[in-house]
Symmetry: C2
Subunit: 210 residues, 2 copies
């Protein structure tokens, strides 16, 4: 793979676009309102340049996300407890979720655009697959938990960008409050322990079709 180095102006422009996008997303609260033409203009660059550098809207969002996420990812992959791999699962799960929540709180417009802006399901995005995979793996190491895959999905759903935005933005729930609520909720899920045998809850029909 030769992978010849890109031209200087290319990297400069790429950077300019990244910064302009960052600024625009931070300023406008509605990510839908941020147009790619506007980003290009703010970066002092033509639309063509922007699209060549990032492919399409999701591509730009992804690039922005990766850049911001980098320190977090490192802390998760190789850092010390309570985030790093050495942490016992029962502690690591809430730490991961809390970190993700804080990240989303710190990058509300971006995360909103990333997760919910696209026309295709956020569950296709591979950043989601990564988090889900990690979380499910850690959950699997906690004995007595029902279905790690589903549990991971459900826990991640509790901190979806638009829910976070709704709580923080519209209902004005303060940061620390949300963190507590999430922690309590997570603890509830994790503590539910091995379902005492024989106490399976029957849900009883009314399933609107079958």
């Amino acid at each position: 793979m030769p992978e010849r180095k890109p031209r200087k102006d290319a990297v400069r422009n790429r950077q300019a676009v990244l910064e302009a996008a960052d600024a625009l997303f931070a300023r406008d609260e509605s990510p839908e309102g941020v147009t790619l033409a506007a980003v290009a203009a703010a970066a002092g660059v033509g639309k063509g340049t922007l699209f060549r550098a990032f492919g399409d809207r999701p591509g730009l969002l992804r690039a922005l996300y990766e850049a911001r996420l980098d320190p977090v990812r490192e802390a998760v992959e190789t850092g010390p407890p309570p985030l790093g791999p050495a942490t016992p699962p029962r502690q690591r799960v809430p730490a991961l979720l809390d970190t993700l929540l804080c990240f989303k709180l710190d990058n509300r417009p971006l995360m909103l655009a990333l997760e919910e802006g696209g026309s295709s399901s956020p569950y296709q995005a591979d950043h989601y697959a990564r988090w889900h995979g990690l979380l499910a793996t850690v959950l699997r190491q906690i004995p007595g938990l029902a279905d790690s895959d589903f549990t991971a999905h459900a826990l991640l759903a509790a901190i979806r960008a638009d829910l976070v935005e709704h709580l923080a933005g519209h209902e004005c729930v303060p940061r620390e409050r949300m963190r507590e609520q999430l922690a309590d909720f997570t603890a509830g899920v994790l503590d539910s322990g091995p379902a005492r045998p024989g106490e399976r809850r029957v849900i009883r029909g009314r399933g609107a079709g079958e």
Copy 2:
């Protein structure tokens, strides 16, 4: 409020559009692909008619949703246990969630379009507010639960249309399996019981800013 009766052709056309939309959403799996022009054409009606009858895309979706939901709503509001108001909270919560899940499974494309299609947050929609309000109210009657509002949000998030679609459509999780998973998850949340005093879980920093 006189509220004079609408003309016959108006109600006929309205009905035709509703049915055409129903059919189109059922056929195409991707709700994004269903264009309002296509719906109008399928109904044998001009776009103008469609927009006069329903206002805009969300309006049409809402109308479709209300129509389908009607029996469920009735069962919830005035029906017998385990859905109706007479049910003890601990049983009613899982019953409500299971019902909602089944409803979403039975109306996947529609619910997908309704919840995630719009450019604005699904948390603004008042159908969400209704479900959340009901669920939170019931949760509040269960002693020892941390935060009913947040818990309601989180439980509803676990059955968001796009997650349901992802599991049912892409990961091919069968209906009964999903119902079980949801039931187990819900039970875990509900059983977590009154947090033993003094055992508050500290999440310890790493909150990406503060």
